[in-house]
Symmetry: C2
Subunit: 556 residues, 2 copies
């Protein structure tokens, strides 16, 4: 492969370097851009009324004629969830494995974009060419199926992007983690490695997905009545293992929850899930089915409002209730931020005298899908890249992954700590930091599929703390005279509108108006501001609160 000294490759991280979620990175060689993943992120609770967060793709839009493809590593929301929003603006071909694309199809169908989108299936272990890039899809193990890392060969060298991975030597089904191919690239020479930092705080190895079997089987075997097990609906391995366990302990399975039912159906249709005939009990038959012979697989492990498990916990589910001596197994991690909701849900299970299992303290019922430190070290030793860039994590994870790589010592060139928008350019002479590009979070209110501006979220935050006070006056447009007594409407502030406070507030507005001259009265923006300031002072003095004050002048 010929190299000219003017050739260079840029890596442009657009999401996932500085936060968990919304993973997205662009590679640019000359005028050809490919994008790795297009993920979303769940908003922090302070982002009020925001349903999800996606990366800002201003850079891609500015270079829309150069974007050749989006290439997906796997089907988790933090890798594909932004597609319905991004393809709307940037309709480029999307490459992914079979199961990954099946999940993408579902999302695009819901968004009405399936018809207009181009989806290209790739096969793990095979290669494709896109412009100057030759991409090999390397099978890796993770908590969902059909996951790949990418080896991207460019005229200037090979880039490896791990996607999400762990190194599971005893995978549940399908291809395992393809160590040999990573080693092959390592021997050949890798320009840069971009690797998953998620579990860098965990020493040792992440246990195999199979590690959950003994304890879950024991619980299902000894359960005095029905078992209700919840896991992420995308954890097809986990679901397969529970089906296998059910068979061994003489139970049937039932699936409840939209995402659980959908994903099982998708995986089953693709023959990624092996469900023996006669194993499945329909949800409408659960109530009548012998409880000692059933395992219910339910979505809602994060206690999402309206999810199956949340509704089961408060006895508000059409087909499933939890009764005394039922066994409830939460076979998933508790995502930080969800603890309160999850434990509130589990408390309801305890109140109903269920036998509740939710952590690994008495045996493993959940394992992570991400590599721990020893696996991350192993990967670094296999690939021995010239440059190493940690991805997928908050800043401290990236930092600690960089420190880990330093300790391993297998990076021949430089270890680079990047954040979203910070570009790096690889040339024959080295790796150089370039001017950052626009990057950041776009807030989406999913009902409307529209971006929400930060100012609107700030207003919501303000509204949420002290409520809103709307003083309203009517002014005669000809005379400038007050045509009504001031009216004051509040919400989220006080519940009694006839209170002394409100009587006083109306007086304040009236005094402000009376103290204004006709010139002020004719400039509504001035009079509104005067009312706002006076009322704010009055309310703050009386209540120490700072509601959003929103004066309205009506011309009559």
């Amino acid at each position: 492969m010929s190299k000219s000294s003017s050739q260079s490759l840029r890596a442009i991280p657009l999401g996932g370097l500085g936060e968990f979620g919304m993973n997205m990175m662009a590679l640019r060689f000359g005028d050809d851009i490919i994008v790795i993943d297009a993920g979303m992120m769940f908003p922090e609770s302070e982002l009020l009324g925001i349903d999800l967060v996606i990366p800002d793709i201003a850079y891609l839009k500015q270079n829309r004629q150069h974007v050749r493809a989006i290439v997906l590593t796997h089907g988790h929301e933090d890798h594909i969830g932004a597609l319905p929003y991004i393809l709307r603006d940037l309709n480029v071909p999307v490459f992914g494995t079979r199961f990954t694309l099946a999940l993408v199809k579902k999302r695009l169908e819901e968004a009405g974009l399936l018809e207009s989108s181009t989806l290209r299936e790739v096969i793990p272990g095979r290669r494709i060419e896109i412009g100057p890039y030759e991409i090999e899809f390397i099978p890796v193990t993770h908590s969902t199926i059909d996951c790949v890392a990418l080896a991207v060969r460019t005229p200037i060298g090979v880039i490896i992007h791990t996607g999400d991975f762990k190194i599971d030597h005893t995978p549940v089904n399908g291809a395992g983690f393809d160590i040999a191919t990573f080693a092959k690239y390592g021997n050949e020479g890798v320009l840069a490695l971009f690797s998953d930092s998620t579990n860098v705080e965990r020493p040792g190895y992440t246990p195999s997905e199979r590690a959950v079997v003994p304890r879950i089987e024991e619980l299902c075997r000894s359960a005095p009545r029905r078992v209700i097990l919840s896991c992420f609906a995308s954890s097809i391995h986990r679901i397969q293992q529970v089906i296998d366990i059910a068979q061994r302990v003489g139970r049937k399975v039932a699936f409840v929850g939209r995402s659980m039912v959908d994903n099982v159906e998708i995986a089953h249709n693709l023959e990624c899930l092996n469900i023996p005939d006669g194993m499945v009990v329909r949800s409408q038959d659960i109530r009548g089915f012998e409880p000692r012979k059933l395992i219910v697989l339910a979505s809602g492990s994060q206690a999402e409002p309206m999810s199956s498990l949340s509704r089961i916990a408060v006895d508000n589910h059409r087909f499933v209730s939890v009764d005394e001596n039922d066994t409830v197994i939460l076979s998933s991690r508790i995502i930080p931020g969800n603890e309160k909701a999850i434990f509130r849900m589990l408390d309801h299970m305890f109140r109903r005298r269920a036998l509740v299992y939710y952590d690994n303290s008495a045996g493993i019922i959940h394992v992570s899908g991400h590599a721990s430190q020893e696996e991350q070290k192993l990967l670094l030793q296999l690939v021995r890249p010239k440059y190493f860039i940690p991805v997928h994590g908050e800043y401290r994870h990236l930092f600690r992954h960089a420190a880990l790589a330093h300790q391993v010592g297998s990076v021949s060139g430089e270890i680079l700590l990047l954040e979203d928008g910070k570009c790096i350019e690889f040339t024959e002479d080295g790796a150089f930091r370039r001017d950052p590009v626009t990057a950041g979070r776009v807030l989406v209110d999913s009902g409307s599929l529209e971006e929400v501006e930060e100012v609107v979220v700030r207003e919501r935050k303000h509204l949420s703390e002290d409520g809103v006070v709307v003083p309203i006056i009517a002014i005669d447009k000809h005379t400038g005279n007050l045509e009504s007594q001031p009216e004051i409407v509040t919400r989220g502030f006080i519940s009694d509108n006839g209170s002394d406070l409100m009587v006083g507030a109306r007086d304040v507005v009236l005094r402000t108006i009376n103290a204004s001259n006709s010139e002020e009265m004719s400039d509504y923006s001035v009079i509104k501001e005067k009312i706002r300031v006076d009322l704010k002072r009055y309310i703050n003095k009386q209540t120490s609160k700072r509601p959003l004050i929103l004066p309205v002048i009506l011309e009559v």
Copy 2:
């Protein structure tokens, strides 16, 4: 002690049985009520604009003439924080140890209640009498100082309430956990034990407070520059140990943050903290002081907004900055719900290239103040009560503590699972559940020291999600005619008020009015509701959002 068969003792849990925080329990013998603790709780994030939550004391107010005292076990906010609100309604004597009362004084002073309150100091190991109760204050170990359990002798038997405790055999200073006295009561016979369930999910023993010394000393000794250590300001033992370490490694200490400075001053004045002369560097001298010779003790370990540590992290503190190779030690637990904020803060420290330590993975830098399972078992074996009631925890903690007691087998009578408001009556014939009393959470907006009604919080929640839309029309009170075009004001909804959506919304309001007959127009509640419903339908159809719609009719 004579017992008549009509004598009975009621235990009335008012807080802390079903949640962490707002601990409060009343005991009633005949017409004499004493209250154990009066704690507050930090609100969950969905309680918008609420600063703190306190127990509903309706029961105590209904029986105000019978309430003899509030007796405190220790000075943490979840045991004393409701006092400024409760003493306002119910001015009864407050009993507590020296340090506990010093903290209470500070709170009451801030609330302007110190003058009117009656505080009575008690001495650990001694007894007092209040009406029919003889109360012994049994020294226990915990994460703050001067903590006691209560042995309450009544004509019908002895009640033991542990307060918060762990069993620390090597306490940092002062009296340790008084095992002998618990054993003495156990031998004599205890009617009921109320015991701390906080750490019931942890097997084994909680390490001694001294367990943090080796690792923190090592970090301070080898730190290349300044050390910034943050812990809870009430952790006087921890602060003492850091001062001792500082002396051994040849460093001075500085204190920053209001709560840190206040608590150190209080503890020092009471001689609960031993600070050698010349050890303390004033905060204004920190910048000029040799970084290799200093440990800064800062409050803000939970990344509270405006706290010292939060401000240091973003280089916005008057006296302290964090620079490359400074050592930052978070010597505290990460309270669930605060992870995002704490890690965001630590990420800033990482960005500044500080050496950041925040968990026990490489050596213990924090230990809990609460008993783990083995200590809880030991206590049950020492006290061997007739009845056992787990306190201080969410439902599952109480449940698991009950299960643990069952397993230990040292409860001769019954293990009782209570929740807030659920009363139990002890008589000679047994323990009986009685009608529940009013109990629950009162939401406080601390600025105003006032209760906030649930309806107001619901409005805030609604406002926070989709904002507010206020359609306003002016109607001539004589003719019923519309006197202006409809005006629509929004906040937290969309940022562009001149948009097509708003033009359409004004049309909707106009059409609704035009389609109304004069009878409807004269009944403002009818016309408002019609506007609300039509506008809601329009906005939901156009945007899928459901803002709070608040029609206003102005009579001119």
